[in-house]
């Protein structure tokens, strides 16, 4: 069976890879959007935190013997705690300054983190096995769906939608959104805004680490795994509209799919298609697809 002259197996396979990549784009750009929303900082170290999440899983397994499920819980918490420390000691000094300094500081942090991991583990990737409960797959008739990949897509969708729900539809989210509009006023109502900012940063970083844990069995665990991904995620964020939660999720998954499709029809362009889309979106809607013009 062919669709547009492409065997359906190949097409579906690429779409699946696209969805998987899209899951990671969505999780990462969601974290970036959450952090940007409250801290006004573009977290260049986001890719490094993603990498730390994957290494967290690897180390928990190989040093402490804790399996994938523990890693899924512990790694984001540990990395998130690192994020909290960095925010308290460094980032908070920059809030009164130009936003560019936040970008530069996190860029420096990314260099440090990646360099340290490269010294410790070398540049080549380390393998991480798929957990036993999720190995194997389903034969859907027209394609073979590995269980683990299905799990990644579903899990990241659930996490994304839950985050969206909390921010847009709960009281806590209301405080967050209010604090991005007018921190002084929210502070005057007796809400500890600095603590909220710190925890939000920790949460965003934790999301990146969670993505890292989920990525560990699919890609190899390596010090530079986040470095090149993060630039694509920046493009996703620009396309979706900075700070828009829904924009981050929808464009994350959408662009993953587009990338997968490009791989089928015109493989040479698959690495650049997202940047081409970004260019077009910028020409037509400079604020991004879901962003509000300020």
């Amino acid at each position: 069976m062919d669709i547009f002259g492409i065997p359906v197996q190949a097409l579906m396979g690429q779409l699946l890879i696209g969805l998987i990549n899209g899951s990671f784009y969505a999780l990462l750009s969601l974290g970036l959007a959450v952090i940007f929303g409250l801290l006004n900082i573009i977290n260049f170290a986001h890719g490094a935190f993603y990498m730390m999440g994957a290494f967290g899983a690897y180390l928990l397994l190989n040093k402490l013997g804790l399996n994938y499920w523990w890693a899924l819980l512990l790694s984001p918490i540990i990395v998130g705690a690192v994020g909290v420390v960095l925010e308290r000691t460094m980032l908070k000094r920059l809030y009164q300054l130009d936003h560019l300094y936040g970008l530069l500081l996190t860029f420096g942090l990314a260099l440090i983190i990646q360099g340290l991991f490269r010294n410790e583990f070398g540049s080549s990737g380390l393998p991480y096995a798929i957990p036993a409960q999720l190995s194997g797959g389903q034969n859907l008739g027209f394609m073979f769906l590995p269980n683990y990949r299905a799990w990644v897509i579903v899990a990241s969708l659930v996490v994304c939608l839950l985050t969206w729900y909390v921010i847009e539809h709960t009281r806590l989210g209301g405080y967050l959104r209010a604090a991005t509009e007018n921190p002084q006023l929210v502070q005057a109502f007796g809400i500890n805004v600095p603590r909220m900012i710190t925890l939000t940063f920790g949460f965003g970083v934790g999301l990146a680490a969670l993505a890292g844990v989920m990525a560990a069995p699919i890609y190899q665990v390596g010090p530079l795994m986040g470095a090149d991904l993060i630039i694509v995620v920046f493009a996703v964020v620009v396309i979706g509209g900075m700070g828009s939660i829904m924009g981050a999720i929808v464009t994350g998954f959408g662009l993953g799919l587009v990338e997968g499709l490009t791989k089928v029809f015109y493989p040479e362009a698959s690495t650049t298609v997202i940047f081409v889309i970004m260019t077009i979106v910028l020409l037509l809607r400079p604020a991004g697809l879901f962003g509000a013009e300020k």
Binding site: M90, L100, L104, G115, F275, V276, T279
Partner: protein, 297 residues
């Protein structure tokens, strides 16, 4: 500064090292023209350095251009690239601008990786230095040194002139308060775009010279790590100062040369310097000295 540059090879400093410093110093100065005086942080300047490198290397090696023509051709190419990408990038400001330039540069990176004439991971190797105007043989170290020195001095003088021209003043006014500059009747976007193109062109000049000097154009120069490096050079030296980027480039290139055997620790050290600069001395080396002398350097 001129005296130092002319005297350095006679004082036993390795000439190739000095030439490398000059190429990067010109690159950092061109970058600083945009960041320090225009307030625009581009995170994609590697595309101009590396792109010009490929253009110069290809035209010199395959088309047999003489070095001065290769450099001119490459510079013209980056001017065109700067013109197009600038139109896109200046539509947004601040961190958006940084991210957009980064993404555009990444497009150029993947193009360089895949296009047939760039030879992918190998880069364009064994580029002939050729004869300047068909007369002066650049494979002579002294001739090459003078060639690079001249290009650096011309580029630097041009930047100095731009900064101190009415155009440069308007640019700084836009950096300080864009709304006010617009209300005074200046078309801010047009000025920013011109500054971007100038910065791109001069970065291209540096990249082309570097390719002829090392007889090599490779992916390293288009990779986004290079864009980060030039930010670091400018930050260390002092953004918005004339001499800062030169000092910054010298510091960083020296560091890389002498710490090379430490491997990935170089990245860590660079990261630490980044963090320290941002947290503790945002004016940079030259900026701090200028502040201390109460003079703008």
């Amino acid at each position: 500064m001129m005296v130092v540059l002319i005297a350095a090879p006679f004082l036993g400093v390795y000439p190739v090292f000095m030439m490398k410093v000059m190429c990067f110093a010109l690159f950092a100065c061109a970058f600083n023209l945009l960041l320090g005086f225009g307030g625009l942080l581009s995170f994609g300047h590697a595309m101009f350095l590396g792109g010009a490198g490929y253009a110069a290397a290809h035209s010199a090696k395959v088309w047999g251009f003489t070095p001065e023509l290769a450099v001119l051709f490459a510079t013209a190419c980056t001017a065109a690239l700067g013109w197009v990408t600038g139109l896109l990038a200046i539509r947004r400001q601040g961190i958006y601008f940084a991210m957009i330039t980064l993404a555009l540069a990444q497009m150029v990176f993947f193009f360089s990786l895949q296009a047939p004439f760039t030879h992918g991971e190998d880069g364009i190797q064994a580029v002939p230095r050729g004869k300047l105007f068909g007369l002066i043989d650049l494979s002579q170290p002294t001739a090459m040194y003078i060639f690079v020195l001249l290009i650096f001095v011309i580029g630097f003088a041009l930047i100095y002139r731009i900064v101190h021209s009415p155009f440069g003043q308007v640019l700084q006014a836009i950096r300080e308060n864009e709304a006010r500059a617009i209300s005074l009747g200046y078309d801010a976007d047009k000025f920013k775009h011109r500054a971007y193109v100038l910065s791109a062109t001069l970065s291209g000049l540096a990249g082309a010279t570097k390719a002829i000097l090392f007889q090599l154009a490779s992916l390293t120069d288009v990779h986004w790590g290079m864009s980060g490096e030039v930010v670091l050079m400018t930050l260390v030296g002092g953004m918005g100062t004339i001499f800062g980027p030169v000092v910054g480039a010298a510091v960083i290139v020296t560091m890389q040369n002498y710490l090379a055997e430490l491997g990935a620790w170089v990245t860590v050290v660079q990261g630490v310097i980044f963090v320290i600069c941002v947290l503790l001395f945002r004016r940079g080396i030259v900026g701090e000295i200028g502040n201390w002398l109460k003079k703008s350097l």
